[in-house]
Symmetry: C2
Subunit: 654 residues, 2 copies
């Protein structure tokens, strides 16, 4: 058994064994060629990762699924200006071997119609246009990327009558880059919702309503900022709300001719087809509690070269494998089993990780301690983290043990908390990386860490090793830092005798949510059930905290004492599952978590309690009383979920 | 820790500590007054059971819910014969203090129309009538009780246009007795489907569609055989299919007048109202593994005096408490926690047990080893048992240790298996006692044991202590026997170091189901997924059997060895949960178990795979191809459920 003292030793060994040039070499190898999911170059990365793990003596295997992916065949885009000129818009980044810019799962089609700038494509933007008497029906919507997912932009445009969507990213970005990405709604293989797309599995028909509702019905494409400008500068600004005419958009600055609409003609031809994808998993079996799992995951597939997204994370994963392997040679065995997971097809909709979660739902539900995600390990400077709240304290502990890669003499924790003294931890309700299935479907406590954000070459052909070496992480120290944080999180979760979870943090977070919600609602619905369930959780959290304290101090190792710790750890581990509801979120029941999950209609600013958020902003009208009942019902559901979590913490029967 | 030798000693102590006159005295006390759920006399039984447990030094508590129950106010029934005479049918058993005969949750109303005998009220019976040109529309259906639940008889009559239903029981029964019972569909409090009806809980509106669909829309009432005969003998047999005119039914034997229909006029006035119900629970905390639960349950509420149903079981429960308390005084502590549960409101729809299961779903799912049900401990002679298949072997073991109460020198196992050499174990897909929520909603392995069946005073005012003392169990030896079997099952499950489950039995049972299904289907759908999933389960079952054998022989008590046993036990415990599907059964999604559960349309003879059975007998037509797809989809779902169970047995991640 690992005594506390040994743990500290192995932690220090982990922290001191980082190597920036090693991790840089991994990144260079991984990013030599583009490696889109389901294509031949992707197999090369599978082999690379597999042999890396195996060469380190780690028990390794790969697991494959046959999932519906999507590839482009041809695209074209032209604009008919108001003076009669036809301009062809460039749609390529002219980088060989990289898949042309497209939106995965966009339907094929030709869309022709007047161009309308729809700002970010939010409901409020369409309301603005309507106020100005500008119709979107039959038009091509030109939108700039904002806060919500691509697929939602297209869905809203479609709902407002548009025939097609062109989506661009503005800002100081790389103006020639086209941001590829998925427009599919929901995650996982669309033909096997709720089960794994293994060989011989059931598959829904392509025209099954459950499948069709995953995809938009109008075609869409990404535009580079440069290409977008050609269109935007030609717009007749009489049809653009004044507040949208900010400098960034450059709207109408080059409008020529007699004014009036410009017409867009774009064609997208693509195909959705079933392709084989592969996850690679290395397992470091736990010694005392091999049936408890700590998972570390990163996706491996990329739109192009993937230097930042995701292979900076893959390089860190390979580096962690190297460091763990070193620890093992020096006598270390984790208490609980650690899995290093390399996911495929994340870019299409978290497919590799989601299929694996669906396949393993029973054992994940009963035995998974935590999931630690790293997608883009490094995009630039600054430490960022997301987590389910019981892991907040652990994040603080761990970052306080790791040296800051950019500021001498400081820890990551120092710089991280410098701005506001707290260290902001995001929450995991978004559906934008592989933690989504773990949190929102399986109820596994999770963490997501990364350096930097909003890097300009995101999903373009310019996400290359050179970009990383020049801008993202010139000396690769940040890569090493992310690896250290990641590895230390895993070590604490696998080796601490009592799991390092704090449900007091969770209860406090829920309390804050409730207080905000209170301000948002007008008093016509009652938050009493929510308040009392949070009190129950607080109480249970304090009780188990006290019990954990007593057990930590207890040296006894009798059967009874050992099982007491195991029983307490089970209660800590299983509490998050209480937040799951078998019926899931209204409208998208595959998402089971009632605290963290995606919105349906993205009208709400709330990033928690998605069921309540969607009910509050429900626009498909129903009368006032029915709306109140709906909101009230969703509040009840969340209250019961919190009560279930409290019951799991208590671990007793009523 | 309890060594094997001590276990044998305590088992022998349990078996030798039975006392027939003690258990008889419990029954006499329990059945002094009628004790219908939600009424004042019911509180008396709560106090009786609570103090019995407490006086034995057991940690006892009661838990209450506010559930929608149903009580009668007035009933009347008259028949207009074809000669113009009006006959008033007696509807009372003339026993003071017993609630008048009625169907719980029948709507109030007056129904007037021609009487039509509908045999058992199955779809095939209505088809027979249609063939004869006999319409049921606007008629009062008179039906004899057959194989399926009362509520289904009423639903089918309603679907065929009847305005009311009179249901009688024929046979050698007590001809003055009226069989009360529920006609509600589904189980648990109808206002809180999926959550516990605790104080302050959310309640659906009485007119919510989820609530309305639980109840029939036409009134119904029970008839005694005597009262039924008055009607049946007056029927014009021209409208009765010849095969139905068997001796039992006595149809038309006294028909008078010119022939033609007789008219029935019946009125039922009742009220559905929220009432407080209470479960009583005694807990014997486990020493080494207190967070593993073995549950023993019996309901306490009765339609009248409840001597057979359910208080013969309650007497056995109190006797078990006495015996366990004796064992404790002699130094015994169970390894795992044992709960003795006295449920309320079973007669209305398994309400007390179901609310408790809903309230505790998180901890039952993660920590419940098994649920052992005894409803009517003794109805007469002959041992009967139902179980989920992994408990078959344990049932055989235990019955071989218990003396037969009627045959000297034989064990229960001897007489039980005498008829066919095997010992028939029923399966738990019916919704007729408190194991239903445990198996079909929570996936907890369960057993149901009883002596005798089809006792003639079932649900009548004549289910009294005297009946039991004269007919059911004159010397109360069968009561003692049931207690011994029940107690020994619990002891094995709480004390065996390795849980006594055999999944090889389960796989074999599923194989047999698949073979029968194969004969039923015509080859247009594929059973391949089912076959291969059963093979997977078989393999996993054999592997864990081998592993269990190795661990049993391993004396080591290191941390690692202890956790190995615990881990293996967890896998054995959790496998049944794999058969649950979050989406539940089509049409009644609260029922999650895909192997054992109620049918929707009761057309099928299958008592397993209810989803497949209902799909095969789907009559709401859809074309042939859609029907095949539906059946195929249901087969896939069961195959995946079996795969989940296999995955739980393996306990590893893919
Ligand atoms: Ca899937
Ligand atoms: Ca309920
Ligand atoms: Zn990524
Ligand atoms: Zn990405
Ligand atoms: Zn009963
Ligand atoms: Zn009964």
């Amino acid at each position: 058994t690992s005594s506390p003292r040994n743990s500290v030793r192995f932690q220090q060994l982990l922290l001191s064994s980082g190597s920036n040039y090693t991790v840089a070499s991994y990144l260079r190898s991984l990013t030599l060629h583009p490696h889109l999911a389901g294509t031949e170059p992707s197999s090369e990365t599978v082999r690379y990762v597999e042999s890396h793990f195996r060469d380190l003596g780690l028990e390794t295997h790969s697991i494959q699924y046959d999932a519906l992916l999507s590839y482009p065949k041809s695209t074209s885009l032209s604009v008919l200006l108001s003076n009669g000129t036809v301009v062809y818009i460039p749609l390529s980044e002219n980088v060989e071997g990289v898949v042309q810019p497209y939106h995965a799962y966009s339907p094929s089609g030709t869309a022709y119609g007047p161009a309308v700038f729809v700002n970010y494509g939010r409901d409020e933007d369409y309301r603005e246009l309507a106020k100005m008497g500008v119709t979107v029906v039959g038009c091509i919507a030109v939108a700039r990327k904002g806060e919500f997912p691509r697929g939602v932009v297209v869905a809203k445009a479609e709902a407002n009558g548009a025939k097609g969507v062109l989506l661009y990213v503005e800002g100081d970005g790389f103006r020639q880059g086209f941001e590829r990405g998925t427009v599919m709604r929901g995650i996982g293989d669309p033909l096997s919702p709720g089960w794994a797309a293994v060989d011989g599995a059931e598959r829904l028909n392509l025209n099954d309503s459950e499948v069709l509702k995953r995809f938009p019905k109008i075609p869409s494409m990404p535009l580079s900022a440069e290409s977008a400008e050609i269109i935007l500068s030609s717009l007749d600004t009489a049809s653009v709300p004044p507040e949208w005419r900010d400098k960034k958009a450059n709207l109408g600055s080059a409008a020529v001719g007699p004014g009036g609409p410009i017409f867009i003609n774009f064609t997208y031809q693509g195909e959705r087809k079933v392709a084989t994808i592969r996850n690679v998993i290395a397992v470091i079996k736990g010694l005392e509690e091999p049936d408890r799992f700590v998972l570390m995951g990163n996706h491996r597939d990329a739109w192009s070269f993937g230097a930042v997204d995701p292979n900076s994370g893959t390089a860190a994963l390979l580096d962690i494998a190297r460091r763990f392997s070193l620890l093992r040679r020096l006598g270390w065995n984790p208490r609980r089993t650690i899995l290093l997971c390399s996911w495929d097809a994340e870019e299409f909709g978290m497919i590799g990780s989601t299929e694996w979660v669906e396949q393993n739902i029973v054992n994940l539900g009963t035995k998974a301690v935590a999931y630690l995600n790293v997608d883009c390990a490094v995009q630039g400077p600054g430490f960022f983290a997301g987590a389910t709240p019981q892991l907040d304290d652990l994040l603080h502990d761990v970052t306080a043990q790791v040296q800051d890669p950019d500021v001498k003499g400081a820890t990551v924790h120092d710089t991280w908390t410098a701005e506001n003294g707290i260290g902001n931890i995001e929450r995991l309700g978004a559906v934008n990386s592989d933690f989504a299935a773990f949190v929102q479907h399986a109820g596994v406590p999770s963490v997501d860490v990364y350096y930097g954000r909003d890097f300009p070459v995101y999903h373009t052909a310019f996400d290359t090793y050179d970009w990383m070496a020049n801008y993202g992480d010139p000396l690769f120290h940040r890569h090493v830092t992310v690896g250290s944080i990641w590895g230390l999180l895993a070590l604490r979760l696998s080796d601490d005798l009592i799991l390092p979870f704090s449900y007091i943090s969770y209860a406090n977070q829920l309390q804050a949510y409730k207080d905000t919600l209170n301000h948002l609602l007008d008093g016509s619905v009652s938050l009493h059930s929510l308040s009392s369930s949070i009190e129950e959780l607080k109480f249970a959290a304090q009780e188990i905290e006290n019990e954990a304290k007593r057990l930590r101090e207890q040296e006894a190792s009798s059967d009874v004492a050992l099982f007491q710790k195991r029983a307490l750890n089970d209660r800590l581990m299983l509490a998050e599952r209480g937040f799951l509801d078998v019926d899931g979120l209204r409208g998208h029941p595959w998402f089971k978590h009632l605290v963290y999950g995606p919105l349906s209609n993205y009208e709400s600013a709330l990033v928690y309690f998605p069921g309540i958020a969607d009910a509050v902003s429900e626009s498909k009208v129903i009368n006032k009383r029915e709306l109140e009942e709906l909101i009230q019902h969703e509040i009840w559901r969340v209250a019961r979920a919190i009560r279930r979590a409290a019951a799991a913490l208590k671990g007793e029967l009523s």
